[in-house]
Symmetry: C2
Subunit: 294 residues, 2 copies
Amino acid sequence: MTAKIIDGKVIAAELRARVAEEVARVRREHNLIPGLAVVLVGNDPASEVYVRSKHTQTQAAGMASFEHKLPADVSQGDLLALVAKLNRDPAVHGILVQLPLPKGLNTGAVINAIDPAKDVDGLHPNNAGRLAGGFEALSPCTPLGCIILTKSVHASLEGMNAIVIGRSNLVGRPLVQLLLNENATVTIAHSRSRDLPGLVKKADLVYAAVGKPEMVRGDWLKPGATVIDVGINRIPKEDGKTRLVGDVAYQEALGVAGAITPVPGGVGQMTVACLLVNTLRAACAIARLPKPAV
Amino acid sequence: MTAKIIDGKVIAAELRARVAEEVARVRREHNLIPGLAVVLVGNDPASEVYVRSKHTQTQAAGMASFEHKLPADVSQGDLLALVAKLNRDPAVHGILVQLPLPKGLNTGAVINAIDPAKDVDGLHPNNAGRLAGGFEALSPCTPLGCIILTKSVHASLEGMNAIVIGRSNLVGRPLVQLLLNENATVTIAHSRSRDLPGLVKKADLVYAAVGKPEMVRGDWLKPGATVIDVGINRIPKEDGKTRLVGDVAYQEALGVAGAITPVPGGVGQMTVACLLVNTLRAACAIARLPKPAV
């Protein structure tokens, strides 16, 4: 058996197209233009690439994109003042402060300052709490992408046994909540778990989010399992160059899994598309419109 | 084998004694008197009993106890005004609004109005979010009691397999977070889970919080497992009277489990004691003192 490959690039493109349709509809029917403000502090090259990509994709979906670039030595007070201004700005429905922030700035205080209704990164404790409580909430983009990829294979996750490996705030913990909302039975494992291969063996759905290259081996998997690989690790090649691998030994898993996401081209593709989903949802919620069809 | 019976009454009394010691210390060393304000709306007889018990135990621990009784037909605005006043009152470190509120009052809005730093019931989304994010937080009292009871048997829960049956906001979901903080591997199961007996069979620690009388059978358990029964169900007896049973078939479980909490006399005993713990912790945090030794 060779696993079906879950093509993140194709699924993300479809998702962006559905967002664009809904954006066109709310513009037409409600004269509402969802707007995303991205704040970039300093000039980290990787962050600049991400921010440019977000800008392009936001505009391509028919939304308004606002970029705010601040120098690396901006004061905490000036950064908080910008966030407060964006909180008040009726044209802005989503606020994303690109992380990591330069040293000297208090990331927690900045995230806490964002209006939870505009927190499209889903990082504000209020959103995390609403998500953990099973309420409507803006959830972090990567876990949201994981769920959408899984549902490209399984229409319903109800009653399936899922394992989430890794308990980070950004991925593992919110992913548990989203899986519970889908009525899956969820096990959350981590570096202190005993017999991880045995735990993985029982799971219909495997989410690897630990940041350890190829840690999950093919023979750990239950035959036919769906594997969502969140890891993106750069490792050296024999020729001295590097390549990207996930947290799952992909070649081994291909022969056992029922479906699997590649790295690159899997989960990573979904993040910005999910940011657009969150911005659209935030705009509709702020305007007291029904939840959009995406 | 007969299971060790985990005596909630004894453990709660020990906990209250440790709280009282710490309260005496912060009074002596820092001139700080932790204060708990309880708000009771209407005159539900069960709620009145709870509130009286909280009042007595709070005073017995050397803390200040403030009771606020409002009529059942109080307006939302007046209730919110009282919460705002308690938020500002420097003598009040914990605010508990006794639930359920009479119909017509918006419970969510009232909980959201409580200063998260004084939210000793751990219900504010901000606390739920901090807990879900793995940060220091005031956690709901019943899950906190479950952890303390478990640790009366096991000094460390690291690497143990725990199953939480039930995903309520008040118990199941926050309990998952507390177990993760203890480095347990956690599975959360619920009404949609498949093969619940098979899932329970693998668990070293079993938490039943579903509200279904004696649902978890003895032969579901792994021999030697520790069983914490959160359920309190009233069922009819043959003589026409009623008796209390948990979510676990206690007599069956006694022969299989390594340790088990009785109902009554188990988890239920811990709730008010944990409320005192939270009030002490909140008072120390607000006064910027180190975390107390309980």
